[in-house]
Each structure stands twice: as C-alpha cells, then as structure tokens.
C-alpha cells in the first residue's frame, strides 16, 4: 500500500516540477520576439531602425533622432504602417535594453539600420553620418538615411 502511494506521488511531483520549471523559463526579450516574428512572417525585407542614446543627450544626438523620425514620417509612412519599417529609440542607461545594446555594441549615441530578409540580417552603422550632418545639414543626412532604407527595402 505504501509503495502504491509512492507510485501516485512521483508522477504528481514530476508534473508539478515540470509545470514550475516552464513557468520560470525566461521569456525572450520583446525586441527579439518582434524581430523573429517579422523575419518569419514577411516574404519582403523588413527594416529595423534603432537609435541608441544616453540619458544626458547633446544637441547632435537629439538632432539625429529628430531627423530620423522626419525621414521615416516623410518618405516611409506607408511602409511603417505595414510594419516593414520599425523605429525604436533606446536608452543605453536603461538596463532593460542591455541585450540589444550589447548586440549592437552601442556605448553612446548610435544609429543602426538593419535589414531582415530570409532569416539574414544586414546592418549599416550611420552614426558618423548622423553626427556629421543631422544638426547643421539635415537634408544631406535625410538623403543618406533615405537611400539606405530604400536599398534595404528593395533588396
């Protein structure tokens, strides 16, 4: 009778442990989830635009984000609605962004344009162009960014 009790208890314990373990499994980060969903569901290239910044921002840094949003809203509003372009501004100082900051090795202000297509990623670093042009020659920066996004969307 005692051994019959053990036969009943072991499966119950096993199921309970399995259930608890699956509850504690760390969920993938939101960004990875977003990227994977896009990559799997889309048969066309998808462009992710990440702007990284610190909490204390200089005028050039602010100008880069502003000009990037202007580029997207002016030239790619439709693609953004379709989910083919995604923009995210991420604070490097926020520990919740550690994973993506490490992936892009973003230690300060940085602008990356990433193409997701057929399970592959291509990334262009436009940080230098941003610092060079965004504040005092916005049109030039918008042209560079627009060309890069267009290239990635149509590749």
């Amino acid at each position: 009778m005692k051994s019959f009790k053990y036969i009943l208890i072991f499966p119950v314990l096993f199921i309970a442990i399995f259930f608890l373990a699956s509850c504690n499994t760390k969920e993938p980060s939101k960004n990875t989830e977003v990227e994977n969903n896009i990559a799997i569901s889309s048969d066309k290239p998808v462009v992710l635009i990440y702007y990284f910044h610190l909490t204390n921002r200089c005028p050039s840094c602010i100008a880069i984000e502003k000009a990037t949003l202007k580029t997207i809203n002016t030239y790619f509003a439709e693609e953004q609605k379709q989910g083919r372009i995604r923009f995210q501004a991420l604070n490097d100082d926020d520990t919740a962004n550690n994973e993506i900051t490490t992936k892009y090795q973003a230690a300060g202000s940085a602008l990356f344009v990433t193409q997701l297509f057929k399970g592959k990623e291509n990334t262009s670093d436009l940080t230098g162009d941003g610092f060079k042009y965004a504040r005092n020659k916005e049109d030039k920066f918008i042209e560079i960014l627009k060309n890069q996004i267009t290239k990635y969307l149509n590749f």
């Binding site: 921002r57 200089c58 005028p59 050039s60 840094c61 090795q105 230690a107 300060g108 202000s109 940085a110 670093d125 436009l126 940080t127 230098g128 162009d129 941003g130 610092f131 060079k132 042009y133 965004a134 504040r135 005092n136 020659k137 030039k140």
Partner: protein, 137 residues
C-alpha cells in the same frame, strides 16, 4: 574703474575671437589630420579627438615635430572656419585625413569609422595607426 570693467571683458573676448580666427589650416604637410566639432560636444566627440591626438603623439611624434603630419581641430560654429568646413562637408563632428596622390589632393572621411570604433579604443587606435602609416609612406 568703471571704464576698466567694461574694457577688460571686451579685450578678453577679442583675444578669444582672434585665437579662433587664426585657426588656419596648415601649409603643405604630407598628411593633414583634421577634426571638426560643434561648440556643444558629447563625450564621444571629445573622446574621438582626444584619442586621435593620443595616437599621433604616441606613434608619430617625429612626424608631428618635423611637419610631415599636422593635426588641427576646427569649431564648425565659428564663422571664420566656414570655408574649410564647406570644403570638408563638415557640418558636425567629422574626422578627415588629407593627403596627396598622383599630385592630387585626396580627402578620406573617417567619421563613420571613428564613431563606430571609438568605444573599442584598441581597435580605433590600431586601425587609425595603420591608416596613417599607409598614407605617409
């Protein structure tokens, strides 16, 4: 005394402006390393300039002393620097190398490289050293 209090700041201001106006590009060295920046600078921009200077001073001291290489930095916001900023298309932080090839002046823009690599300082230093060495041969 009142006059002196008015004259002194004006005198100091004119000294500062005079110093900025006199940031003229160097005569004719083999390699010009120019760094452009705005008045309000972020830590990354400051680090690029400081590390570039460090690379030059630690590895190319003799060339700096004999004029083979010159380093200069320009404030983009200073009107006196407008012409050189236009030439280098430097409207914000910009790192550029200027050299001669086949009797023609060539400009290599290292801004994207600088902002991409500066946070891994060893890589920045190493690649900049190789680049400079190749241009002063």
């Amino acid at each position: 005394m009142k006059k002196f209090l008015i004259v002194l700041p004006v005198f100091l201001l004119s000294l500062v402006l005079f110093a900025q106006v006199n940031q003229k590009p160097a005569a004719n060295p083999k390699l010009k390393v120019y760094y452009f920046h705005l008045t309000n600078r972020c830590p990354t921009c400051i680090k690029i300039e400081a590390t570039t200077k460090k690379v030059l001073e630690e590895n190319f001291k003799a060339q700096l002393d004999n004029g083979t290489i010159v380093f200069q930095s320009f404030n983009v916001d200073v009107p006196a620097n407008k012409a050189i900023c236009e030439k280098y298309q430097a409207y914000g932080a910009t790192l550029a190398l200027t050299y001669n090839k086949d009797n023609k002046e060539k400009i290599e823009d290292l801004t994207n490289f600088a902002f991409a690599k500066i946070h891994t300082e060893a890589a920045f230093v190493n690649e900049l050293k190789i680049k400079i060495n190749s241009l002063i041969k």
